[in-house]
Structures are given as C-alpha cells and as structure tokens.
C-alpha cells in the first residue's frame, strides 16, 4: 500500500478539470431573479456543466438545478450531456465507452450517496469507469483496476472481509493483540541476542 501512490489510486491522473470554467460569453440570468423565484434558497451555486452554466439552488428540503442561460429546470442530465462531460475531462480515448444510468443499488466501488449517476465504462486495459452525477452533470469520481486492487489490500489490512469498512472488528483485535505479543517477544529475543556476545564453540 505504501508503494502505490494514493493520488494514482484515486485516479487523479485520469481526468483534468482545469478546462471547466464558467463561460462569460453570454449573459446569465440575474441572481436576484433566481432568488425571487426561490425565496427560500439558503445557498445558490453557479457552476459550469458540460452544456451550459447552471445554478444549483439549495432549498430547505431539496436541491434544484436550473440553466443559468434561461432558467429552465434540469430534471435529469441526459446521457449525451454526461458523455460530453466525460469527453471534456477524461485523459484518454473514449471510443469504446459504454454508458449506464445507475439510480439504485450503487456498485460497491461507489458511495451510494452519490446516486443517481451515469456510469461510463471506458473499456480500457485497467477498466476505468467515470461516474457523472445525473443531477448536477459533474464528474463525481473515477475508478480503475488499481483502485480495486487497493480496496482488496485495505480489506486484508483491516481484516473486515465482508464490508471492508469496520476497523473495530474483533478478528482484527485478536490478531493485533497476538501480533503485538509476537513483536514484543521478538524484540526481547533481539535484545538478548545482541546484549550477549556470542559464545565460542568449545
């Protein structure tokens, strides 16, 4: 685990977000207009989606996405728009890419809180998958085989062979205690071995 660079594992090299910037070419609908329409808004976030700049409006009980060009609500991001986002941010060829909308039963490599998402399988040698939020249209995460390998190592590391997340499991307690005793007795033996000069054969 210490050999594998964590940024590489997280797939930082797979995408670049630097090109995503809020365009200034067209007039955006006024923020006052948005607030008049949604008087309960506690937060408004302007961001660049693949198609157009959008306002994300946070209300007390829900979150709404609207186009910053015309104020039209965006119910769900289309596959075409999500694919456009992948093409904008992915560092590589997307020729063999396939897409799937995931609204429930998140795959184990994805946090269920991020649903719904468009899952794009790049179908390259390391089985890269990009996840685009189906509500905001933004890249939420990326996974590849090295991430999956690291996840297996994490499972072995914490000895939670089912969910790979509970570091407080009793099996790990038992094995760590045994390991601690082993290390302490081992250290004692090392100390003994080096503290006494080896006797000569007689």
């Amino acid at each position: 685990m210490v050999i594998m660079d964590i940024d590489f594992i997280r797939g930082k090299h797979l995408t670049h977000k630097a090109t995503l910037t809020i365009p200034t070419d067209k007039t955006l609908i006024s923020i006052g207009e948005v607030l008049r329409h949604f008087p309960g808004a506690t937060r408004v976030n302007l961001y660049p989606s693949a198609n157009e700049p959008r306002y994300q409006v946070v209300l007390a009980d829900r979150v709404i996405f609207i186009s910053a060009y015309n104020g039209q609500p965006v119910q769900q991001v289309t596959q075409a728009e999500a694919a456009l986002m992948v093409n904008q941010v992915f560092n590589g060829s997307t020729n063999a890419m396939t897409a799937k909308l995931v609204t429930e039963n998140a795959p184990s490599e994805l946090n269920p809180r991020l649903l719904p998402v468009w899952q794009f399988s790049i179908n390259d040698t390391v089985n890269t998958r990009l996840y685009i939020s189906a509500t905001s249209g933004m890249l939420v995460t990326q996974r590849h085989d090295y991430w999956r390998l690291f996840d297996i190592m994490w499972m072995l590391h914490i000895m939670d062979y089912e969910d790979r997340e509970d570091i407080h499991n009793p099996l790990l307690s038992l094995m760590s205690l045994l390991a601690l005793m082993t290390v302490l007795t081992g250290l004692a033996l090392v100390f003994v071995a080096f503290a006494n000069k080896p006797s000569e054969r007689s």
Binding site: T19, L20, H168, V190, F194
Partner: protein, 345 residues
Amino acid sequence: MMSMQILHRWLAAIVGLQLFIWVATGLAFNLIDSQHLNGNHYRQKMTAPPVDTASALAEPSQLLLQFPTQTVSAITLDNVLGKALYRVTSDKGKFGFWATDLSPVKLEPDQLKQLALSSYSGSGQVIAIELANDVADKYAASSALYRVDLQDERNTHIYVDATTAEVVAHENWGSNLKQLLFMLHFMDYLPDNGVSFNHIAIRIVATIVLLLGISGAILVIRKLKHGQYRIGRAHSENNTLILLSPDNEPLETITIHHSGMLDALNHHKERIRTSCGGGGQCGMCRVKFIDHPPLATDQDRSKLTDDQLNDGIRLSCQHQAMGGCVSLVNAAQLRHYIKLSSILD
C-alpha cells in the same frame, strides 16, 4: 543454515521498533471507540436561513471579471452572519466577497467568534482567537486562518478562514491523539510531510519488514520440516531427572515440573547458569543427554560441534523435559553447581 537466522535477527533489530509502533497504533485504532477520536464531537450543522435579499446583490458575472486569468469552477452565494456573500472557487484557491458591494471578505475577531460558535453545540466559552496560518496548508485554507479556542472538557478548537468565512475544521484532544497515532502509523515524522504514507522512509521500512516476515516464515517452515516443533509436553512415564557431574557421579534427583528441559533442571534454583535466559543464544545451558538425546535443533548446531552433538550434548533450553539421566559437561558448570549448593546448604 544459520545465515537466515542471522539475517532475520538483523532485520528485526533494524525495523523492530517501527514494527512495534505499527502494531501498537493499529491496535489503538482498532480498540479506541471512533467517538473518542472524533474532532467533530461538538460540531453542529449551521442553521442556514434563506439568503438575505433586502439589499440588491451584485451579479456573479461581475465577479468573473475580477478573475480574468484564472479558471473559475464555481461561484457560490451563501448566507453568513446574516449577510449574503459569494465564494469564488478558482484554480488559485477560494476567495470570499460580500455580495452587495463585492468587497473582499475579511472577518473581524468578533465575527470569527460568532461564526465559530454557530457551528458549535457545546457550552464552552471562547478563551482565545489566534492566527493559525502555520497550519493553513493542512486544511487547504488561506493564510488568514484563525484558531478559536473553547474552554470545554475536550479542549475544542475551531479553525475559521477569515477570507472565505468558512468553518474549516473542529479539533479537540481526541482528534489530536488521532493525528498523533496517524503520524506514528504513517511514519510521518517530518513536519512538512502532510499526512502521507507514500514517502521513501516508510517504503524502505515496509520492504525490510516484508523481508523479516519472509525470513521468519522460511525459518518456521525449516523447523517444521526438521520436526523441531512439538506441541504439548512429551509423554513420558518417567517423571524424574537424574543430574550427573561431568564424571557421571550422581549429583541430584529432580522431579520434572516444567515442560522445557532448562526450566526443569533449574526448578527452584539456578543449577545451570545462562546469560541469554533460554534463547538459544549463549550456549551456556548445554548438557549431555545420556539416554536418547533428542534431535539437534538449528541452535544446537550453531553452538555445538559435530562431536559434541554425537556425544548427546544439547542446549537444554531448546528441548523438552524428559525423564532420565543428564550430565553437566564442563568444570565451570560443576563449580557453579557446587557453589550454589554450598550457599543454599
């Protein structure tokens, strides 16, 4: 044959301490309830009233003009301390502007305190507010990062960024302990390392520990193959040891009370002196097994010559106790035995 053992011993000497730290801190993470290490013990969701629209707000597009050379990935309108503000996220960082006149945000101590307290559910009083830009990088905050100290039983301190008006983090003694454990577990001993486990020192030590494990496994397999591991006490009808002098004169009859031969011989008094205490290292516990000498171990072979082995001489610490005759092998052992007996008598 012994080179593997010497290698194993040296590897253990080099990385043993860090291995101990890894196992001990790992066990601490496993056993300590996460709640005790939680920095957010008194953190509460800040109540967000609707954005104040009483005064006209400047447009976010006006803000974009202030960042002509930067990539702006988001502009967020938020409501902080009853006032609307914009936070601009660009490739150079995050910046706060009051939304009515687009003046840069720079919170005063009173506002820092108010903002910190709005994220805090405990009952402690604010006792200090200090600039904490030395840890700004750690929290990806600006250089106007302030630390607000509270007087509570957890020593809560809240980090607030004065230019983005954001509560960056809550910390307390539990989260400080957690960071200490991580520092030890990740060997993150250099202060500027960040919390990283990909640095060269940990890679070297981890590799040596792997070699330590492999050499240990090889030694275990080798011993298993040579039949040097026995589980439980050897079954024997005879529960009595007869200790002889080097000239085979009877010295003492000892009833076996221990599973190891050295322990059995030294029952109640140190008839045979050692300096390693039974680790197979000093060779001082050698005795001659008169009847049925056991199979020689690696330690026997390292300390004794072939002639001695053929004579039935073994390191008593490496063998199980069994009834029968064993003799001391040299004058020094006999002198020690006589001296000990005379003192006790």
